[in-house]
């Protein structure tokens, strides 16, 4: 599943799955449906691209639980929640955990499709950042974290027990690999990535 336009529909109601997949496909997306959270966990990996439309109330593992599990497994897919009976506490919790949106059934077609588009774009971005950061060596990762935290090269060198010059070389590599043009941009990339890693 490397298609960046795949929308994973996870809902225990067959009619809902069928209708949503037909709608998404009519809108030009690829839809993949799952009856339970467990079925989806079987196929997804940290490299999976796309976004998820997730039912809140499901037998077995419910929507919010699946969201937590995905974070734990470092699967950075954006999630759109769909609820039959939305309640405020659940909404707040899911949004805080990084859900794109929390929609209530029956959702307006255009709202849903806009949400899907937003999620896919974000997912792509996160995925690319993830790929770029994945190219960093362990030492470069350390240097980036300290640099983003606002430490000078000298301080970074002292902390890691390497020379000022070596720090400069690592920083150059980090900027190059992430495609960031300045420290601020690097910080934004690092933040965006971390946001999807830390529950």
């Amino acid at each position: 599943m490397s298609d960046a336009n795949v929308v994973f529909v996870i809902d225990d109601d067959e009619a809902v799955r069928d209708a949503l997949s037909m709608l998404l496909e009519a809108a030009g997306y690829t839809a993949a449906v799952f009856q339970t959270a467990a079925e989806f966990l079987d196929v997804c990996t940290p490299a999976t691209l796309g976004c998820i439309i997730l039912d809140v109330d499901m037998p077995g593992m419910d929507g919010p639980a699946l969201q937590q599990e995905l974070l734990r497994r470092k699967v950075p897919l954006p999630v759109i929640f769909l609820s039959g009976k939305g309640t405020i506490p659940v909404t707040v919790r899911t949004i805080k955990t990084g859900a794109i949106d929390f929609l209530t059934k029956p959702v307006d077609r255009t709202v849903l499709l806009d949400c899907v588009q937003k999620a896919l774009t974000q997912g792509e971005e996160i995925q690319s950042i993830a790929l770029r950061l994945a190219a960093l060596t362990e030492r470069e990762h350390e240097v980036m974290k300290l640099a983003v935290a606002g430490h000078t090269n000298k301080e970074i060198g002292q902390r890691l027990g390497i020379s000022y010059r070596t720090v400069e070389i690592h920083r150059t590599h980090v900027m190059h690999k992430t495609g960031a043009t300045n420290l601020l941009e690097l910080a934004r990339i690092a933040d965006a990535f971390e946001a999807h890693r830390i529950p």
């Binding site: 109601d13 809902v16 209708a19 037909m22 709608l23 009519a26 209530t104």
Partner: protein, 676 residues
């Protein structure tokens, strides 16, 4: 008769005085004349002497006569004995006493009349008197010559006669009567003493100062002292210090006015212990009416006092309990007037005891409505003799009311007539308030519950409708988007439209089910064969489910028909079978099986159906909510199934319940009444 010298000289002087008066002294100049004078004086002296003698003779004769009379007729015997014990003189009285003529007695030996037992004593006394001249007395039994005897007292005195002979004068008194009286008195005293000593009361006599002069044995017992010890004491020595003042004033008063008195006091016994006594005291006077002391009859009442103390304590205790009981007590006479009431009820009513006793009636302390209730229950109360838990609104003095719960007992007189009632009142105002608050609270809870049920219902309806609505919305959206393309995919569009239609139907079905649950109307009932019904439903269930399950039937043959609505029972059976099958399917049980048992319930008159699956069973948490509406563990359905099933069975007079067990599948039971 000898003349004393002073008498002679007086005589001479008087004679001289007479002569001088007859002849002047100057005339006595001559010796003859002196001689003559002397003779004349002497003559006159003699004349005077004769005159005197004559007068004396007369006086003597008078005196003798008087003496003889006195002597002879004295009430006592006089006799004179010679020194040899012979009777010299004896008066008539004594002769009569000795039963002889006087003449025969004179010159007889007196000792012959002394009874033989007293002879020695008499001889000793006689010699004693003769020898020493003392006045001696003795009592002697005398014997007459005819053999009869009498008791006499002899008072003896020695008399020396003119001739120097010694005589003994005796006064002899007949004391037979006195002796007999003395004997009688002694006997009676002894009898009295015996009685006095044997009586159960203590008897004590005191003199004026209070010194004890007599006690009986019982008094010794009571006081703990011996008779000897008591006779050295005053009654004051025995009296308890705390009772002293009162005792003294009582004693004084009695001594003053002579009225006998009864009172109670304490003595201190010899051993130091106090003893309660009841005293009846009276004043004692001698024959002349002089007050000589007091007499008291003393009864030991320690035991009675103890009993009284115990009784008083116990009645105090009862009074205390009566008055300070947490409930009210009162007694009404047959006219409904309060005759007795305790402090608690008085405090409730706000009256004082004086305001109520004998004045207040039931009507005064009850509201008119409660009074009516009171009269309504009255006849039964009189007939049965009691009444319980009559709720009455009671009116306080200030006009406010409180709720009392009354129970009363009727008291009947000897003739069986109702005389009074005794009532217990509980102030249940607080209880009433509590009940009211509880009711309010319950209503509030019901409201909350209703609200929650409404919210749950709304949420369930929302969920149940939102699913098909989302599907419909999505299908139609897809169809619309497909139609907007250059080459619309008609197959897809048709599919979307058809699916849309189905979802609309699904939404409609949910609503119908809900309405069915919310408004269950009257239904027809009939007698039918439950066995047949079970077999039919099982067939339906098997045809509707893909799951192939094994089933066992234990249907009791020859069971009577049941009574109920056939459609209801059908629905319940189907629902329970569906639940079991779906649970097994959802859990993926390797070899699904259902057991349906039909039997006569333990509770006679009912048929019992048991349906057991071998699915995962019911979760403990779910158990609590199992029969609540909208509770479900299934992906499909509204959670109305069990709630509806239970209410349907209950409407048909049966019961539906889950057998609590875990891990071995769910076991549901329901009962239905037999038709006969």
């Amino acid at each position: 008769m000898s003349k004393r010298p002073d008498e002679n000289s007086t005589l001479r002087a008087e004679a001289e005085a007479r002569l001088a008066g007859a002849q002047p002294p100057e005339a006595l100049a001559l010796s003859a004349e002196v001689m003559l004078h002397e003779l004349q004086v002497h003559q006159i002296e003699l004349e005077m002497q004769n005159e005197e003698l004559r007068r004396m003779q007369l006086t003597l004769e008078e005196s003798r006569d008087r003496y003889v009379d006195l002597y002879e007729l004295a009430p006592v015997g006089y006799l004179t004995l010679t020194d040899t014990g012979m009777i010299a003189e004896i008066n008539l009285t004594c002769a009569a006493l000795l039963g002889e003529e006087r003449q025969r007695l004179v010159q007889r030996r007196f000792s012959a009349y002394v009874a033989s037992g007293g002879s020695d004593r008499w001889q000793r006394l006689f010699i004693n008197v003769l020898r020493h001249g003392n006045k001696e007395s003795c009592e002697l039994a005398m014997q007459r010559s005819d053999g009869s005897s009498f008791d006499a007292q002899l008072d003896c005195l020695r008399k020396e006669m003119a001739d120097g002979a010694l005589h003994v004068r005796i006064i002899l008194t007949d004391i037979t009567e006195r002796k007999q009286n003395e004997l009688l008195l002694r006997e009676s005293e002894e009898r009295l003493r015996a009685i006095v000593d044997q009586v159960v009361v203590g008897i004590v006599r005191t003199d004026l100062a209070g010194h004890i002069t007599f006690v009986n044995d019982r008094f010794c017992d009571i006081s703990g002292y011996t008779r000897k010890e008591l006779l050295d004491k005053q009654w004051q020595d025995l009296t308890h210090p705390e009772d002293m003042q009162n005792s003294i004033s009582v004693y004084k008063q009695m001594m003053q006015d002579g009225q006998p008195l009864s009172f109670e006091k304490r003595y201190i016994r010899k051993n130091g212990m106090a003893v309660w006594v009841s005293i009846s005291a009276s004043r004692l006077s001698d024959a002349e009416g002089h007050v000589i002391g007091g007499l008291a009859v003393v009864v030991d009442i320690s035991r009675r006092k103890l009993a009284e103390d115990a009784l008083r304590k116990s009645s105090e205790e009862i009074a205390d309990l009566y008055n300070h009981s947490p409930c009210g007590y009162h007694s009404l006479d047959k006219d409904g007037i309060i005759r007795q009431i305790n402090d608690t009820e008085l405090a409730w009513l706000g009256y004082t005891r004086d305001e109520v006793i004998g004045k207040t009636t039931a009507a005064d302390i009850l509201t008119p409505a409660s009074m009516e209730n009171f009269w309504k229950s009255y006849p039964l109360f009189i007939k049965r003799g009691f009444i319980q838990d009559l709720e009455l609104e009671m009116v306080r003095k200030d006009g406010t009311t409180f709720t009392g719960l009354a129970s009363a007992t009727a008291i009947y007189g000897p003739g069986g007539h109702y005389v009074m009632s005794r009532s217990t009142i509980l102030d249940i105002t607080e209880r009433k308030q509590l009940e009211r608050r509880l009711l309010e609270y319950r209503n509030e809870m019901n409201n909350l519950l209703n609200l929650q049920v409404a919210a749950q219902t709304a949420a369930a309806i929302a969920h149940e409708l939102n699913q098909p609505l989302l599907a419909i919305s999505s299908y139609s959206g897809a169809a619309r988007m497909l139609l907007q393309t250059e080459k619309p995919d008609l197959v897809k569009i048709r599919k979307a439209v058809m699916a849309s239609e189905q979802q609309a139907q699904r939404a409609g079905k949910s609503i119908r089910e809900l309405l069915e649950f919310l408004s269950i109307k009257e239904f027809p009932v009939e007698a039918f064969d439950l066995n047949q019904e079970i077999l039919g439903v099982l067939d339906t269930a098997r045809s509707e489910h893909e799951l192939k399950f094994h089933y066992m039937l234990h249907l009791e043959a020859g069971l009577p028909q049941v009574w109920g609505n056939r459609m209801h029972v059908h629905k319940v059976l189907l629902n329970l079978l569906h639940n079991g099958i779906e649970a097994m399917q959802q859990a993926g049980v390797p070899s699904p099986s259902l057991t349906v048992t039909l039997s006569s319930a333990k509770n006679k008159g009912f048929a019992q159906v048991t349906i057991q699956d071998n699915g995962p069973g019911i979760d403990k948490v779910d158990l609590q909510h199992l029969f609540e509406p909208f509770f479900t563990t299934k992906s499909k359905g509204m959670g109305m199934g069990l709630a509806v099933s239970r209410s349907l069975i209950e409407m048909n007079g049966g019961q539906l319940w889950l057998e609590p067990q875990q891990g071995h599948g769910a076991i549901f039971h329901f009962t239905l009444p037999f038709a006969i």
